[in-house]
Structure formats: structure tokens, C-alpha cells
């Protein structure tokens, strides 16, 4: 009896999970399908899901009109650069908060998180002006710096929770064994936290890759990443849905593939501490 109930419950949960999953994935699927339509079919009403003339012409058009690889490379440099710089700052910060906490540690962590609640547009003008005056506008360095700062709270928080799980006695043992602070972090803490650091790295690469507000507002041509590449297809001359979809597909494909292969790490990273 109880077995029958549990099977039914299992079927319902599975169905619900698939429904939610498909609902979330649907816009992406729609974008990918649209990218293979002609412009006319893309705006046809009612739209057809699969029954249309499949074409690659949008991809050729997009590649002809703009340099995908330059944007792609900018995205790679900006997302990886900001994540690595962030990690270099966050590892020592999270170490100190996890292993040498003070009365204010919790406050500092909350304060860091609270900066994520600030609407970015609120600081757009000051940052824009600072970037203009320091010549950082439309440079990859500038974007690396700004994205590092944006994602730093999340990196510190994630690392902090991972480090919290590492028994302090092991670090004390290394101190007894003569490890300096540098060797302790380099040879003991970091190798033990590799799974955690890896998922932090992955998540932040994805966040930085998809970041659109700052990348769009602080770049023009030289440092423009893939977000700007997509945006350029929604222009005053009119919307080209099919080409826009093709550009979007090309922009999200690399990160989608990365995410697919690293999903195990990512899930572990996002649920860490909740399940042991």
C-alpha cells in the first residue's frame, strides 16, 4: 500500500519537475528554434514550432555583419579575468572570516551581501565618470575590475561556507608543523577546498559571462563582449528576430556547454552545506 502511494507521489514529483524544467528552458529552446527560421517565419502568427523551412542563413548573416570571435574572446577574458582576480582576493578574505572570526565578522559578511541589493543603476553615473576620467571606458581591464567588484561578495560568501566545513584542527596542525600563513593557505587549505573553489569559479564565470548591465554601459566597440554583440541586433532600424536569435544562440552556446559538463560541480556548489 505504502509502496503504491510512494510510486504515485514519485510520478507526480517527476512530472512537476519536468514541467518546471521545460518552462524554464522554453525561452532558450524558442530562441534556438527561431535562429533557424527566416525573418518572415520568425514573426509569423501563429508561429510554427518545428514545421518551417530550416535555414542557416541567419548565422552566416550574423558572422558577416559582426566579428563573433572578437566578442567571444572579450567575454572569455572578462569573465575568467574577473573570476580569477576575485578568487585571489576572496580566498584570503574568506580564510580570515572562517578561521579567525571576530565579533564583527557576521556584520562584515552581511554588509558585503547588502551591496548586492543596491540597484546597479544607482551607481552607474559615478562609476561611468570615474571610468571616463581614468581612461577605463571600453577597456577589458575596466570590465574585469568592475565585474570583480560586483561578484566579490558572492565569491567570498561561497568560499566562506566551504572553508567553514574544513576542520580548524587541520590548519592548527599545519601551524604546529611549521607552515607559514602563506604555506598554510597554499598547501593545506586550498587543496582541501578545491571542490568548493571549482564550483565557485564555475558559477562566477557564468555570472560574469551573462552580466549585461555593466558590460553594455561601459563598452562601445573595443572591449564589447557577447552581451553587446546580442544587443547590437536590437537596433533602431528595426528588430531582426531571427538574426537576434542566432546571435543569442551563439553567445549562450559556450556557457551552456560549460554548464552542461560541470553541472555536477555546480549543483554540489549551490547546495553545499544544505546536504552533507
Amino acid at each position: 500500500m505504502s509502496r503504491a502511494v510512494s510510486t504515485r507521489r514519485k510520478a507526480i514529483t517527476t512530472a512537476a519537475a519536468w514541467t518546471i524544467g521545460l518552462a524554464i528552458f522554453f525561452p532558450i529552446l524558442w530562441t534556438i528554434i527561431t535562429s533557424f527560421k527566416t525573418e518572415a517565419e520568425a514573426i509569423a502568427s501563429p508561429p510554427s514550432l518545428f514545421n518551417f523551412h530550416w535555414t542557416l542563413e541567419n548565422y552566416f548573416a550574423v558572422q558577416e555583419r559582426s566579428n563573433y570571435f572578437r566578442h567571444f574572446w572579450n567575454s572569455v577574458v572578462i569573465s575568467l579575468g574577473s573570476t580569477l582576480l576575485g578568487l585571489a582576493i576572496a580566498i584570503p578574505a574568506a580564510w580570515s572570516m572562517a578561521f579567525v572570526p571576530t565579533k564583527r565578522t557576521k556584520d562584515v559578511l552581511m554588509w558585503m551581501l547588502s551591496t548586492k541589493m543596491l540597484p546597479p543603476v544607482g551607481v552607474l553615473i559615478p562609476i561611468y565618470l570615474m571610468f571616463r576620467d581614468t581612461g577605463l571606458l571600453d577597456t577589458r581591464i575596466g570590465l574585469v575590475v568592475v565585474l570583480t567588484l560586483i561578484n566579490l561578495p558572492i565569491i567570498v560568501w561561497m568560499l566562506f561556507t566551504y572553508f567553514k566545513e574544513i576542520p580548524g584542527e587541520i590548519l592548527e596542525a599545519s601551524r604546529m608543523d611549521g607552515a607559514t600563513l602563506r604555506s598554510e593557505i597554499l598547501y593545506v587549505l586550498t587543496p582541501m577546498a578545491v571542490p568548493g573553489i571549482a564550483s565557485t569559479l564555475l558559477l562566477n564565470v557564468i555570472l560574469a559571462w551573462n552580466e549585461a548591465f555593466w558590460t553594455l554601459n561601459l563598452t562601445a566597440a573595443k572591449a564589447a563582449p557577447l552581451t553587446a554583440f546580442i544587443a547590437s541586433y536590437s537596433s533602431p532600424e528595426g528588430l531582426f528576430y531571427a538574426k537576434l536569435s542566432a546571435a543569442s544562440t551563439m553567445a549562450i552556446a559556450p556557457i551552456l556547454i560549460l554548464g552542461w559538463f560541470s553541472q555536477k560541480q555546480l549543483v554540489r556548489g549551490l547546495t553545499f552545506g544544505a546536504v552533507k
Partner: protein, 333 residues
């Protein structure tokens, strides 16, 4: 060389005094055990000696030199932790070599020392495994190996056997004692288990609430406990304490008599009582006897003693083993 002197050492966490000013002298080559109930400050005291905690006052001298503000690694002490604290991402070999590597020793020297330690501790078979693949006892050996290679002036053990099962604990206890007689190095050992303290120590330091209650050899503490606390803490099963008129007869506020120092008879004796729970261990029988006004008294009878719940028995304390305590809890000598 491994003499350690604590002079007026104290530790506070904020307003909470964990260890009030305390003096203690540990001589070179001693096996000293800190024993006391949970939260008595014994681990804190060990961590102060190790340098993992800063003292709030007083000085710690190692080999006659002030080491109060010397960092842990420079004190010449090695520590074995309760959780073993092995580096999970390194093989046994690398774990043991870690302190040597940190000291900048050459690879050849490291190998020689690691191999020597592995031989002493029989680690040969699993020297290339990781800690996760080892049993509790093997991990404990690796942790000891990591301490040995440093050739420290003193070893510090923080409840090293409490994560092991009972049989293994007895074995490791013997191994550590064996190690002490081989190396003849000072060892400071923290435990809450008075059996470990009694069997291993040259000198036991009984602590309660950060205070040293008594320092002495295991038999000194057993024979002449300085106060009520020590008398109750050392010895198993614990000493019976009797207050009231019976104690007054002996000119004391409390009298104490150990379960093994009471003669048991079914026909005659000083105190008459009724048997409650009895524990038959084969070699010994422990009886809980309800003696009216005196309360419940634990008695040890050697071998099998055939009585049942509800039987009447007579107890006679052996006068020469009677302990007397005054109103302040101190022994009257």
C-alpha cells in the same frame, strides 16, 4: 631536553575566566597526564602550551627560556590532535614529511626520516595511501608519525584515543607508553578518562574549572587524594562519600571509602544494607547496597559473589583505608 614551566599562566575569553592563574612544572622526560571532567580547561591548557592560544597573563618557559610569545612551530613541540588532523589530500608519506618540508629539509633527508618513523610505527604497508583509506587506529599512528619526525622536545596529545573503539584504545595506550619509554621524551597527555591517566602517567594533574586540584603519581592520588573532588574522580568505581553522624564519629564532615576497601559478609558487619543492582563482571562483582541513612554504597567483591536483589548484606569499611574530609572538602591528615 623538554622541561616546561608555567608561571601564573591564565586564560580568559572576554570576561569568562577559563584558567585562573596557575603554576605547573613539568620535568624533562616526564609523562604528564592532564585529567578532569569535560570543560575543566585541560585542552585549553594544552593549547596554551602549544601556542595555539595566547595566554591572557603569565609566562610559559620551555627549557628555561621564555616561550610565551614564540609561535607554535618554533616551540619545539609536536601535537597529536583528537581528530588526528591529517591532511586528507596528501598520502601518508607526505603527511609525515610535511613538517620536514616546511622546515626546508632536503628530499633525501625527508625520505630517511619518514622511513625511520614508518618503521617504528609499522606504517610500511600503507605509506602511499591517503588518510581516507585508513582505519582509525592507522590514522592515529600516522598522526603520531608526523609528530615523531620533528624530533620535538615534548609531545602534546589532545585526547588522542577518544575516537577509537575500546579494544583499540587499550592497544594504542600500550603503544604510546612503549613509545615514551623508547624515546624518553616529555609527553603531555590530555584525557577525561581516568583509566588512561592511571595507566600511562608518571604524573597526573587533576583539573577542575581551570584549577589544579592535585598533582602527583597515579598511586599517590589513589592513596591520598587531597580533597573530595580528587577522591571521587580517581578510582573506578568511584569512592563512596558518607556524610552526617557516621562521618562525625570519625571526626570529619565527610568520610570516603573505596568500593574495594569494604569487606562484605552475609552474616555480620558494621553496616547493614539491602542489595540493589549488582554487576557481575566475572573477575569482580559490583554491588549497589542501600544502607538506610548512609545512602547507597558501592562495594566491590572479588570474583563471583552470589547475592540477589533484595538480599541483606553487611559491610565493614577497612579502617586503614578510610579517608576523612573536613568542612572545606580538604582531606584531614
Amino acid at each position: 631536553m623538554g622541561s616546561i614551566q608555567l608561571k601564573k599562566v591564565e586564560k580568559r575569553f572576554g570576561d569568562v575566566v577559563v584558567i585562573p592563574p596557575l603554576d605547573l612544572e613539568i620535568e624533562d622526560g616526564d609523562f604528564v597526564v592532564f585529567v578532569g571532567p569535560s570543560g575543566c580547561g585541560k585542552s585549553t591548557l594544552l593549547r596554551l602550551i602549544a601556542g595555539l592560544e595566547d595566554v591572557s597573563g603569565g609566562t610559559i618557559e620551555i627549557n628555561g627560556k621564555d616561550a610565551t610569545s614564540v609561535p607554535p612551530a618554533k616551540r619545539g613541540l609536536a601535537m597529536v590532535f583528537q581528530s588526528y588532523a591529517l591532511y586528507p589530500h596528501m598520502s601518508v608519506r607526505k603527511n609525515i614529511a610535511f613538517p620536514l618540508r616546511m622546515a626546508g629539509m632536503s628530499q633525501a633527508e625527508q625520505d630517511a626520516k619518514v622511513n625511520a618513523a614508518a618503521k617504528v610505527l609499522n606504517l610500511g604497508d600503507y605509506i602511499d595511501r591517503r588518510p581516507g583509506q585508513l582505519s582509525g587506529g592507522q590514522r592515529q599512528r600516522v598522526a603520531i608519525g608526523r609528530a615523531i619526525v620533528r624530533e620535538p622536545d615534548a609531545f602534546l596529545f589532545d585526547e588522542p584515543l577518544s575516537n577509537l573503539d575500546a579494544a583499540l584504545r587499550v592497544n594504542m595506550r600500550l603503544e604510546i607508553s612503549e613509545l615514551h619509554s623508547t624515546l624518553a621524551t616529555t609527553m603531555i597527555y590530555v584525557t577525561h578518562d581516568q583509566v588512561e591517566a592511571m595507566t600511562m602517567a608518571d604524573k597526573i594533574v587533576v583539573l577542575q574549572a581551570g584549577h589544579i586540584e592535585q598533582v602527583g603519581s597515579p598511586l599517590e592520588l589513589y592513596r591520598s587524594p587531597r580533597n573530595l573532588f580528587v577522591s571521587g574522580f580517581i578510582g573506578s568505581p568511584k569512592m563512596n562519600h558518607i556524610t552526617g553522624a557516621e562521618a562525625a564519629k570519625h571526626g570529619a564532615t565527610t568520610i570516603g571509602i573505596r568500593p574495594e576497601h569494604i569487606d562484605l559478609s552475609t552474616t555480620e558487619g558494621m553496616w547493614k544494607g539491602v542489595v540493589g543492582v549488582s554487576e557481575h563482571l566475572g573477575s569482580d562483582t559490583f554491588l549497589r547496597v542501600d544502607v538506610g541513612d548512609l545512602g547507597t554504597i558501592t562495594v566491590r567483591a572479588s570474583g563471583e559473589f552470589a547475592v540477589h536483589r533484595g538480599d541483606t548484606v553487611y559491610l565493614t569499611p577497612q579502617a586503614m583505608h578510610l579517608h576523612r574530609f573536613g568542612p572545606d572538602g580538604l582531606a584531614i591528615r
